[in-house]
Symmetry: C2
Subunit: 272 residues, 2 copies
DNA sequence: GCAAAAGTGTTCTTCGTACACCCATGA
DNA sequence: TCATGGGTGTACGAAGAACACTTTTGC
C-alpha cells in the first residue's frame, strides 16, 4: 500500500464526476440520490459519482459510476460543467465534472436497483453533501433551458406515451400550464411524433377488412370475443394515481429518425 | 527542485484552463490566439490558458492566465465545459476546463498588448495545439446558441454602437442576413436599447431652449461657432472600412439595468 | 347515468416578414 | 449634385392563444 504513491512536481487536484439523474413519475420531476456510506458527509444524500480513473474520460467515468452505484445504463448523458471551488471538498482539492442524465419513466416507477439509492421529488430534496445543492440548481436550470428547444422530454417517458403524459411532463418541468388543444397542435406540427396505433394489437388485417372508422372499441372486442384483449395492458401509466376514469388515451412515439433528419436540415422548430 | 514533490495515493490528472476569446472588428468575428513558446506544440497557435493553481478556482485561473498572457481584463467569462480525453495532452493526463469570453470592439481594433498574441479571423484560424480545434468548434456553436436568446452581442461592441453595427454583428455570428427595418424594430421592441442622444454633447440646456426638432446638425453647429464641435469624434467605428459616405448613424446603448430588471420578471424576450 | 379525461376546430390577436421612400452626409 | 447609407411605416400572412362541445370510459 505504501508504494501506491504517485508524485508530481506541482500539486494536482483530484477529479471526480457527479451525475444528476432526472426522472418523471407521471406527475413530478424526480432526481436520483444515493446515501453516502463513507466520510465525508457520511449518511448525507448526494449524486452518484466518484473519482475519475487516469485512463478514462470524464464521460466514461460518469457512466461507470452511475452503473456501479445505481445500476442504470443511461444514454443521453450531457455535461453540465466543472465545479472547482477551492473548498468544495474537505478531504483535498477536488474538481468535479458534473453531468446530467434522463431516466425513462419505467425506471423511475420501478424504483432503484441499488441499496441506498432513491428517487426524490424535486421539492423534497434534503440538504445534500458537498456543493451538490448548488449543482442541482444549475442542473434544473439547464433542464428547463434545454427543454425549451430540444425534444428531451421523450427521454423521460417510455417509448409510448399519451399526449397528456407529455403535456404533464412539460408542465412539471416548466411549471406552467398549457391549453390541451394548443399543446396537441404544437406537438403534432413539429412532425416528430407518430401514432402508436392500437390497431396494431389486432394485426394489420383489421384496418383493411374493417375500413369503417366509426367502429367503437366495443365493436372491435366483439370480433375477438369470447376472448377480448386486455385493453389496458399498456396504459398503466395513465391510470396510476387517478381517482376517476376517463377516455382511453391515444399513444404516441417519438420518431427519432425523423427528428435527426429535420435537425440535419435545420427544419426542426419547437419553442416553449 | 527535487523536493518540490507532491504525492497522492491515486494518480491525479493535471487541470488547466483555456480561454476562447471572441471579438468583432466591425465586419467579422475574431478569436484571440497565442503562439506557444514551449513544447509541446511549440510554435503552434493555441488559446490562452495554463495550469490551475491549487488555491484558485477554474474561473480565477482562466482570468489570471488571460490577463497574464494577453493583458485583457474581461468580464463575462463563461464556462464552456471540461475536456478530458485521455490523450489530449502528450505530457501527462490533463483535464482542461474551457471558458469563453467576449472582448469589446475597441480591444480588438487596438490589437493585442501581448507579444505573440493575435486576433484571427474565424476563417483563417490555423491548425491549433492540443484539442483546441475541437474546443473552438464547440465554442463557436455555443456562441451561436447563446446569441439566439441572450443579449451577449453588446459585450462585443463598444458602449455606444449604431444599429447597423449591431446588425452586422448578428449577421456575422449567425451567418444570415436580416432586413434592416425588421431588425431595427425587433431590437427596439425588446426595450433594452436606449438612444445615446448626441444632444448630450451640447449639454442638457440645448434640448430645453431649442425644442425645435427640425433643427439640423448644421444649425446646431452655428450656435457653437466659431468653434464647431468635432462631429465625428465618436463615429470612427462606422467610418472605418467604408468606401462611401452616408447619413450619420444614431448611436445606441445597452441598458443593462433594464435588461436585468426584465429578466428578473421574465419579461425579456428575444429570439433570432 | 355520472363524473372525469380525451379528442377535436374556429376565431381572433399577435408577431414576423416583405417591401419603398425620403433624408443626411462627404466627396 | 450625386452616390451611399440610414431612418422609418404599412400591409399581408403565419403562428399562437383563447375558447366549448362531444365521446369514451370505470364506477
Amino acid at each position: 500500500m505504501e508504494n501506491e504513491k504517485y508524485t508530481y512536481q506541482y500539486p494536482h487536484p483530484a477529479v471526480t464526476t457527479d451525475c444528476i439523474v432526472f426522472g418523471f413519475d407521471g406527475k413530478r420531476i424526480k432526481v436520483l440520490l444515493i446515501r453516502r456510506g463513507l466520510e465525508p458527509y457520511k449518511g448525507r444524500w448526494a449524486f452518484p459519482g466518484g473519482f475519475m480513473r487516469i485512463d478514462e474520460s470524464a464521460e466514461q467515468c460518469a457512466e461507470r459510476e452511475l452503473a456501479e452505484e445505481t445500476h442504470l445504463q443511461l444514454t443521453h448523458i450531457k455535461q453540465l460543467g466543472a465545479f472547482s471551488d477551492v473548498n468544495r471538498d474537505p478531504r483535498e482539492r477536488v474538481v468535479s465534472i458534473a453531468f446530467y442524465a434522463l431516466a425513462k419513466k419505467s425506471e423511475v416507477l420501478g424504483g432503484s436497483d441499488a441499496e441506498e439509492a432513491l428517487w426524490f421529488d424535486l421539492d423534497d430534496v434534503p440538504q445534500l453533501a458537498f456543493d451538490h445543492d448548488y449543482m442541482l440548481r444549475k442542473a434544473i436550470a439547464k433542464l428547463r433551458e434545454d427543454i425549451h428547444f430540444s425534444p428531451i422530454g421523450f427521454d423521460l417517458l417510455d417509448d409510448e406515451f399519451s399526449m397528456t403524459e407529455l403535456q404533464n411532463l412539460y408542465e412539471a418541468i416548466l411549471n406552467i400550464r398549457f391549453d390541451r388543444r394548443n399543446f396537441y397542435k404544437k406537438m403534432m406540427q413539429t412532425g416528430i411524433l407518430e401514432e402508436a396505433d392500437d390497431d396494431a394489437l389486432y394485426g394489420v388485417a383489421l384496418s383493411e377488412c374493417m375500413p369503417n372508422k366509426q367502429m367503437k372499441m366495443k365493436d372491435i372486442e366483439q370480433l375477438f370475443s369470447p376472448n377480448p384483449v386486455e385493453r389496458f395492458s399498456s396504459t398503466e401509466g395513465s391510470r396510476e394515481a387517478k381517482s376517476h376514469p376517463g377516455r382511453k388515451a391515444k399513444k404516441f412515439r417519438f420518431n427519432k429518425e425523423r427528428y435527426d433528419e429535420m435537425k440535419e436540415n435545420d427544419e426542426f422548430k419547437l419553442e416553449f
